[in-house]
């Protein structure tokens, strides 16, 4: 066992972690009672699914605030999967129905914003349906992969306009620097 303690923080840098950047990342919202336990079950049963599926545990799918989904996309998720108990099996009786209603409306908004329906899906799993849930994870990845990365955080391709931005006669030195920072901020979506 290793005991060394490092107490000096290192500077953050923006390089990506070890996962292949091109492999889609899917954020999954789970409810505490059914789908999260199904995920635990998938674990206990050692059922394999793609590693870039990442879970966020809430008490109920009814807690899912559309902002969470938007936040996920804004922060770089390529897909978002809403999971919860089967309609009649909600631990809170009927709250997953509210989640369903929000899903239906949010889906319309996302489509209007140009986000493919495959990127935003929902799935029901009872606490016993670990294998089914794991399968749903794999399916979701398969659905999203062909669409390529969503990269919402990425800077829109400025190439043609960008050179106009750096028009020497209009910009002095430090405002050029600002212009750079400015571009950064443009990338800083959703913060």
């Amino acid at each position: 066992m290793s005991e060394d303690v490092m107490t000096r923080p290192h500077p953050t840098d923006a390089t990506a972690s070890a996962t292949t950047p091109r492999e889609p990342v899917v954020l999954v919202f789970t409810c505490n009672w059914c789908s999260y336990r199904a995920a635990d079950l998938a674990g206990t049963a050692r059922i394999k699914y793609p590693p870039n599926v990442r879970l966020v545990r809430l008490m109920c799918s009814g807690r899912i605030d559309p902002s969470f989904v938007l936040k996920a996309f804004a922060s770089g998720a390529d897909g978002v999967l809403m999971t919860g108990c089967w309609p009649a099996d909600c631990h809170y009786r009927v709250q997953n129905v509210k989640a369903l209603r929000r899903f239906e409306l949010l889906r319309r908004v996302l489509e209007q914003l140009g986000i493919e329906p495959e990127r935003f899906q929902r799935f029901y799993a009872s606490a016993a349906e670990g294998p089914q849930l794991a399968a749903a994870f794999s399916r979701m990845i398969e659905d999203v992969r062909p669409l390529g990365p969503l990269d919402w955080g990425r800077l829109p391709d400025l190439a043609p306009d960008h050179e106009a931005l750096t028009n020497p006669s209009e910009l002095d030195a430090d405002s050029a620097a600002e212009a750079e920072a400015d571009l950064m901020s443009l990338e800083a979506v959703g913060s």
Partner: protein, 691 residues
Amino acid sequence: MTPNEPADSPRVGVYVCHCGTNIAGTVDVAAVRDWAMERLGPHGVVVSRDYPFMCSSLGQELIEDDIRELGLNRVVVAACSPHMHEKTFRGACERAGLNPYLCELVSIREQVSWVHTDKVAATAKAEALLAGGVLRVREQVPLEPMRVPINEATLVVGGGIAGITAALEIADAGFPVHLVEREPSIGGHMAQFDKTFPTLDCAACILTPKMVTAGSHPNITLHTWSEVTDVAGYVGNFTVKVLHRPRYLDTDLCTGCGICQEKCPAKVVDPVFEAGIGYRKAIYRPFPQAVPKFPVLDPDNCIYFERGTCRACEKLCPTGAIRLDQQPEEVTLQVGNIVLATGFEAFDARRVEAYGYGRLANVFTSLEFERMSNASGPTGGQIVLRDGVTEPKTVAIVHCVGSRDRNYNKYCSAICCMQSMKFAHLVREHTDATVYEFYIDIRAPGKAFDEFYQRVQDEGTIFIRGRVAEVTDVLRMPDEAAEDGRLIVQVEDTLAGLQRRIPVDMVVLSVGLEPQADAHEVARRFGITCSSEGWVIERHPKLDPVATMTEGVFAAGCALGPRDIPASVASGAAAAARILGRIQQRELALEPIRAVIDAERCSGCRICNDLCPFSAITFDAVQAVTEVNPALCQGCGVCIAACPAGAIAGTGFSDAQILGQIEGILMFSGAADVGARTASPEPKAPEAVPA
């Protein structure tokens, strides 16, 4: 939103568990440890360690020491599922004087090492989840658990042996119990049996006393011929509605003399207690030892209800107890805990066409045989063919009917092997018939089970290893069976490796156990989860086998899955013990996960008013603001997500925590190299010139 410095600037300690090789085998824990230090330093991580078993006392001390010595005010443990060890590590924090809710558990076992194989990807995911945990815990605030009083009364659903045991245990400890049974009498399936394996003691002899005690116990209220129609509230304070179906008689007047039953002209097949091979009257007491002693009238078969005439029972009842106009009545009970002991249903043998049950007269099910072999059963304990007189000369007992079969139920019903061998013994006991047992595997792992197997072999029962392919009355040769009309059991004797056609008089199908037909409905009503088949799911299959996912609701007996009498009794007693423990505490600490409304910001739009199934949300018309009753709030968070003014906050799962977690999970992930920059706390826009 995230992560503008929380009130106290966070000092986070990160602890990565190897869980032996469970995690370390797939995740490079050392790398995760160092990564957390480097990348999450700016987010408040001041110490990062790994340890083979964080949950061990040494591992916990590690955390406690750091809290004291490094002044940690947040702790993140990357280990197993929070459902496994959240309590453990919260305990550690508490011991070190840190509010337990400032501890976050990140599951890198169930969600990473156990479900992935690629080490690099798994490690990266572990890091991402860890980042999520850190950014989430930063936004967490100290919380105090909610304390609620516990109602001392307990509801036990199901009056079989498991339910009766649970009821008696609790009642004997001096607390009130409501025992609800769907049938007219308690006793369940065990009351139908003659003998019990492997000891062969008489079921009635050991069950009846318990039934009587339960029936007369001052602390037990029986609700037979009744069903639970609604469950509201939460652990410690459930409100339960029970529907009493009309017995069509006044139990205060009825002496249980049985004259009505005697005189009733309507004789019908009894599909329940007599398993379809015996008869009862339209007004009947299912069996002599029934508890309570009162009969019930079954309107579907009552001549009066069909034609409006007869009323024999009414005329002849010495105490005038018959009430043909009786209506169902609903009672409301207040209980603190619930035991579900709803039992099982026998597999419907008709579904296996090849065995001809229902088509071939002399094919019987195990339940039919139980009744037949029972001294108080329709044949007075005689083993006879369907004709009611002929004694069989050869009997075939077929194992695994509807069990261990992907066409019906995948699982092993656990009791059939022993039950079948009990039958073999009973046949030998009552007749001198030759008995065949057709089995796939003999499963006799219980105490004195295998000895019983030996015994039955000694008694001359012939065991043939082979799953019966079909039972038929079509003879291939006129002389195939000694007499016509006898049945042929066609099977491969797998040990001899040849197909055999064995003529027998009687076939007994040892049918499997299935969950009650309405298991899913019941689970829904009680807010618990059950498997796709319908068996109740335990909170933990090994460590918490009688608790359910829902606080205050326990399960016992075959509701949890097929099991024999001793196991049912044990689980009933276990559930009772768990409940008694809670009752003793008088009050109960609940997770402080609640919704809180900021009256300042509530505009009284009333969007949320209709969203709470626990009626925790009320509207104050005077102030024109909405309020949440923390005692009723279950913390689902629906109203929080619904409030258009953002005026409802959620403790334990606040927007800030969740948004932080999302950001953390994605900030370093491959898909969001930009996300990383997004997430770093330093502001991106150029600093404005100070005014």
